[in-house]
Symmetry: C2
């Protein structure tokens, strides 16, 4: 069995070894093979087996990290119990539907959405390289569908750009690359880069700028049918006698820059945001439900942990029942704790000073999601927007159009806000009713004629006010990683932590699952050696 | 009723009028309204009504243009008959499945695909702004699903780049913008553009280059965690003790340029290629079948038109029955002819010399599509590629990964070739067996370990060898448009032509449908006036 503490060589180290041993052909073959392995640290589910007969593990938290731990440890032969504070499993893997209740500190909402409609307050999209999530979806039978991320026809709004009038992302994107190409072309032609690039590369760059920027024969970015074929039209191409298209005017350099559209372009090229993306059909909570189908019988719901102790023989967890207030205690040989650091830092836990410091020093970000149910999909019928996001520099940060059931009739839910940072804190500080009003006001900039008149009902989740987490997810900095990360994730006696906060994929389910696999692999090794 | 020959004012003309009449508020409101109208020339189905009692229209060709004409003219009260050369309706709207026969000049193939699998030899994707296609899909009950177009994780191959080793599009794209940003940043900092851009724009451009290009503090594009977050990793982020990611090396400027990746980037920004795109679930022919459900009873299949004549009272079409060879004749008051110009140019047709010249001077491009059924979806499981295209400068031009049934087990069909131009002519010149062999050889560059060993069966369509069209679609040039387009689409006595070749959306179903709407609108006006 592989030592779970073994640090695998990097791809480059391995390739160097293979190259020395087998020459160029072996190296090429290996590069091809590794080319598709380097997408993810996931190498299949953990290979645990041969748990000591009767060994017990207590898992705190029935989110996806906790449930994966319970699922795999049970398969390996451990007796597992999960304690969960809430009256449901899933944690942040969560969808709200009509009839559901949202309990924040200081407010309660009852969701009014029509049957079939939902909001994912937590995770909502899955990148193609999050192989752990994809693996368990396949294994547990969760049906995935496409999630539309990049939509050229969605809009961008900046209060100080274009007089506050939203622009199609398509138009801004094409203008942006047109102007960048024109300016770099000018520099190249003026010889400004002759000491930097070779003559051959200069020639290729000029060709690239002309082609990519859709420049005219004078290397200028200007209105033309060719530009229209990317940017759009005053009159689009058609059929018959009036078929000829009329291109529209391009945006100026200054107007284009005022929109800061490069931020959106950059957003879509982040690896975690790149197309192709997925979502579980019908709501993200189908993943939590699929894990629950496997380990739900091991979960004690409504259980508030108050104290976590350990000695050389095992762990002892004190708790109270959330409904009755009755005190209880659970014992086990080992403990996997997925309680968010925001909550864990307030508990009495018997771990090293360094781990305590790591737990207590880890800040969580905030975010707010607001779902707005509209009578009809006006963004599809009236604006030709199918999925994707319209970004704004208002507090709501964006509105996002649903993927799934495109072209459908009847009410649909769009995401009316998803800010981090100051916008999130401002919206979190409002009552749920005022959040909806703000979201309707701000979102109207994109759909002024429809946004308020088509509105039916709304629901919001401000993560900083959710009592079981008090934040959205861990926000490590480079400095805090260096100071505390290894202390947080280390096995401490009989206790190991897991969750997105114990990973380099913070705020993603992939991080929660990879962290859980790593934690239980090390726990199993220690349990086997003990 | 609106005069169908009326040329509507351009958006700008209209906005100017509105601005003069109603001031800024009215102008803004109108811009908002038109902002989403300018996607398409489609303004709803044609409003035809009040056909003269007993008026008859003959339609030649049961492709989507011909069937739309029959559908709408029948609704308006005309008696319509369609003559179709093939033994099926749909024309290029076409999908082949297991058991189907493909009859080219000189060869016959019987498709071997497993049940549920298919190849769309003709149209296969629908842009969000092709509102006519989308309208009729909705009206006729055709279920659409997403079509994955841009996939950052697909590959690019150039024989002379990276030693012929394919690169992930993601890597090349990030390298490309990184180098462009670095070079423009250098030019700006050297003052090379100080007479071109304002100081304010220069500052914004520098910020944009740093952000969009993911440049370091020295404005250089180089390996970093930040770049890794877009480009990928030697070791990706993970969970627990080995969670820290290790970024990989970036490509050099010369290597990046040698891939000509800007062509792919530009491809994805063409309006007709921009995300979001759609496909009919289960095969493109569901559109043709939906029209057939409405007008199939009006179609005479297997009918080879030999002569088209007209006088002041009506049209007369001579034909022979393809099976029996028996001659026949059909008469009607009016004629809508959707026969491709390649075939029509060989027929005896009684129209003006100018229209004949237009028909005969219109060249058609060629393309070849090859479907390869593989035992399993290795591109998904082993390469994390879900939809999208891997491009190459070999004859096959690309391979395209299917959208739909992602994560499914069992055989799946990928598109193993889709060239235009010289690659298409070379593949069209081969027997179907040799095409498959070539496609397997060339496509192996992307998936060397799997491509041949997982192969099950293949099917190909070379459009230049399809006897009923002898080409793929019309390829107008700016010059030929100027010389012939209006002659081609004009109503000539009692005859009007329709189809993608009679539109500015050549090679797209949207063009065929818009052309048909325009043609029957003018025909109805003439018939009403006659």
């Amino acid at each position: 069995m592989t030592d779970p503490l073994f640090v695998p060589p990097t791809r480059r180290q391995l390739l160097t070894m293979i190259g020395k041993a087998g020459g160029a052909a072996a190296l090429y073959q290996a590069m091809t093979v590794f080319g598709h392995a380097a997408e993810s640290q996931f190498n299949g589910p953990p290979k645990l087996s041969g748990a000591r007969k009767g060994s017990t593990v207590l898992v705190l938290g029935a989110g996806v990290a906790g449930m994966l731990a319970a699922y795999e440890l049970t398969k390996a032969g451990y007796n597992v119990q999960i304690l969960e504070f809430q009256d449901r499993t899933g944690g942040r893997n969560y969808s709200v539907r009509g009839g559901d209740t949202i309990n924040e500190l200081g407010s309660t909402q009852t969701v009014q959405f029509a049957p079939g409609n939902y909001l994912n307050p937590g995770p909502w999209r899955i990148p193609y390289h999050h192989r752990t999530v994809l693996h368990y979806c396949k294994e547990l039978g969760v049906e995935l569908e496409h999630f539309a991320q990049l939509n050229f026809n969605a809009m961008t709004h900046r209060k100080d750009a274009y007089g506050g009038k939203p622009q199609r992302f398509r138009d801004l994107y094409v203008d942006y690359k047109g102007h960048v190409a024109e300016l770099l072309g000018k520099s190249l032609n003026a010889g400004a880069l002759d000491t930097t690039v070779t003559a051959e590369d200069k020639a290729k760059l000029l060709e690239a700028m002309r082609d990519w920027g859709v420049l005219d024969k004078n290397m200028a970015y200007t209105k033309s049918v060719k530009v229209g074929e990317q940017r759009g039209w005053d009159r689009p191409p058609g059929g018959g006698v009036n078929g000829a298209p009329i291109p529209n005017e391009v945006g100026t350099l200054s107007d284009t820059l005022s929109t800061q559209v490069w931020k959106e372009i950059g957003f879509y090229t982040e690896e975690v945001m790149q197309a192709t993306m997925f979502q579980p059909k019908g709501g993200m909570d189908h993943i939590g439900k699929a894990f629950t189908a496997k380990v739900g019988h091991l979960v004690r719901l409504g259980t508030r942990v108050t104290k976590i102790a350990q000695d050389t023989k095992g762990v002892t967890v004190d708790w109270t029942d959330a409904k009755t207030g009755a005190a209880g205690q659970s014992k086990a040989d080992w403990l996997v704790c997925t309680i968010p650091a925001t909550i864990l830092g307030q508990l009495d836990i018997q771990v090293s000073t360094a781990k305590k410091a790591a737990i207590r020093s880890l800040p969580y970000g905030n975010s707010v999601k607001i779902g707005l149910e509209m009578k009809r999909r006006f963004w599809e019928t009236d604006y030709a927007i199918y999925g994707g996001h319209s970004f704004t520099d208002q507090d709501i940060s964006l509105i996002s159009y649903p993927t799934g059931n495109w072209f459908g009739d009847g009410p649909a839910v769009l995401l009316g806000a998803y800010p981090f940072g100051i916008g999130a804190y401002r919206l979190a500080g409002m009552t749920p009713e005022k959040r909806i009003a703000a979201a309707l006001d701000q979102g109207s900039v994109f759909h002024p004629a429809e946004y308020k008149s088509e509105y039916l009902s709304g629901a919001s989740v401000a993560w900083s006010r959710m009592p079981w987490i008090l934040g959205c997810c861990a926000t490590w900095t480079e400095e805090s990683r260096a100071a505390h990360y290894q202390d947080l994730v280390s096995l401490d006696g009989r206790i190991v932590l897991a969750g997105e906060h114990c990973s380099y994929y913070g705020c993603w389910q992939e991080g929660a699952l990879l962290s859980s696999i790593d934690a239980i692999t090390r726990l199993h090794q220690a349990a086997s050696a003990a």
